[in-house]
């Protein structure tokens, strides 16, 4: 068999392959589905400056908003641990205890959020009162009133002296 015959046979085989080869045309389109939710983390405080009296005293209001799964923490720190104390050392015989309460005005909290409306205050110890115990599933927001109640059974408020405490509310976006 000469070379030209070999070439002819090969060409014929290729022609048959091309003729009977199953071709496929594939075309694609694409739906792109997207929801973009921006990070929302917000905290603010309104402070009231009314004179402290026996009974209920509204100190202010705070609001927050958070939509991250790893969440947030709101805590409170009282310098004197829930007591109004005199700065005057010589007169430091009385301290006036109070109870701090948080009153929700408007709120929507994730199921994983723990809410403590009457936190136990200890001197200079950070006490969390709104925090996550797991992964958040939806955004949380809240608007709370901060108040203290002074029972003052001994009428200490009528005694001379400068009684004070410092309360800090701390918001952490984790």
């Amino acid at each position: 068999m000469n070379n030209s015959l070999c070439y002819k046979i090969i060409i014929i085989i290729f022609a048959f392959i091309l003729l009977f080869e199953k071709k496929q045309l594939i075309a694609t389109e694409k739906f792109i589905v997207e929801i973009n939710v921006p990070h929302n983390s917000f905290f603010s405080i309104e402070k009231y400056f009314s004179a402290i009296k026996k009974g209920k005293n509204i100190l202010g209001r705070f609001s927050f908003k958070n939509n991250t799964q790893d969440g947030f923490k709101l805590s409170i720190i009282s310098t004197n641990g829930g007591n109004l104390k005199s700065n005057d050392i010589s007169e430091d015989i009385f301290s006036i205890p109070y109870i701090l309460t948080l009153n929700p005005i408007d709120k929507s909290l994730d199921n994983s959020v723990v809410e403590v409306l009457t936190p136990d205050l200890h001197p200079n110890i950070e006490v969390p009162f709104l925090y996550l115990t797991g992964s958040a599933q939806e955004m949380s927001y809240g608007y709370y009133e901060v108040a203290i109640y002074i029972e003052d059974t001994t009428n200490a408020l009528e005694m001379a002296g400068n009684y004070q405490d410092s309360i800090m509310i701390k918001y952490s976006d984790l």
Binding site: K22, L25, E34, I35, V37, D70, S135
Partner: protein, 169 residues
């Protein structure tokens, strides 16, 4: 009845048949999508309409493939969040499906909830005896609330519509 009258009567029956009969000669091969670009919300979101025209007697396949297996996957490395599950439903638009074309397993688009965990075949045939010319509306459905309370993140999926024409011209 004379011959002339007979021819006229027969013509009335046969002319429409000739008009509507189509050659299955692979000359019609058209596929595209009219996109709707909806703002994704809870419930049914119309993604678009698939238009398919085909007269290939060796058939074709039309399927959907989800990149993330039926979820809008969140891309959020710093805060993390949960994916959003969805499913696809279909609504038959105008047109017709050729004879010999297999529908999805329920033989009906209405009520089918394609969860997109794997490739989802909408239409498939290897032996089509009459042409297909169909519009199919594609809906993305989300059961959970997609509201302002949704967690931060970029939720995304890409759903490919793949049309495979067997042995075209």
């Amino acid at each position: 009845m004379n011959i002339k009258q007979s021819i006229i009567i027969l013509s009335i029956f046969f002319i429409p048949i000739f008009c509507f009969a189509q050659n299955m000669d692979k000359t019609i091969d058209r596929f595209y999508v009219n996109y709707n670009h909806p703002i994704i919300r809870q419930g049914a979101n119309l993604l678009g309409t698939i238009i398919l025209q085909n007269n290939n007697n060796e058939g074709f396949t039309l399927k959907l493939v989800s990149e993330n297996g039926g979820v809008l996957k969140v891309n959020n490395s710093t805060h993390g969040s949960n994916d959003i599950n969805y499913y696809i439903t279909f609504e038959r638009g105008t047109g017709r499906i050729g004879s010999g074309v297999g529908l999805n397993e329920n033989e009906n688009w209405e009520g089918v909830e394609a969860e997109m965990l794997t490739d989802y075949i909408i239409l498939q045939t290897t032996n089509q005896t009459s042409s297909t010319d169909i519009a199919i509306k594609v809906y993305l459905n989300i059961d959970e609330d997609v509201s302002d309370l949704l967690m931060a993140g970029n939720y995304r999926d890409e759903i490919e519509v793949i049309y495979n024409n067997n042995n075209p011209l």
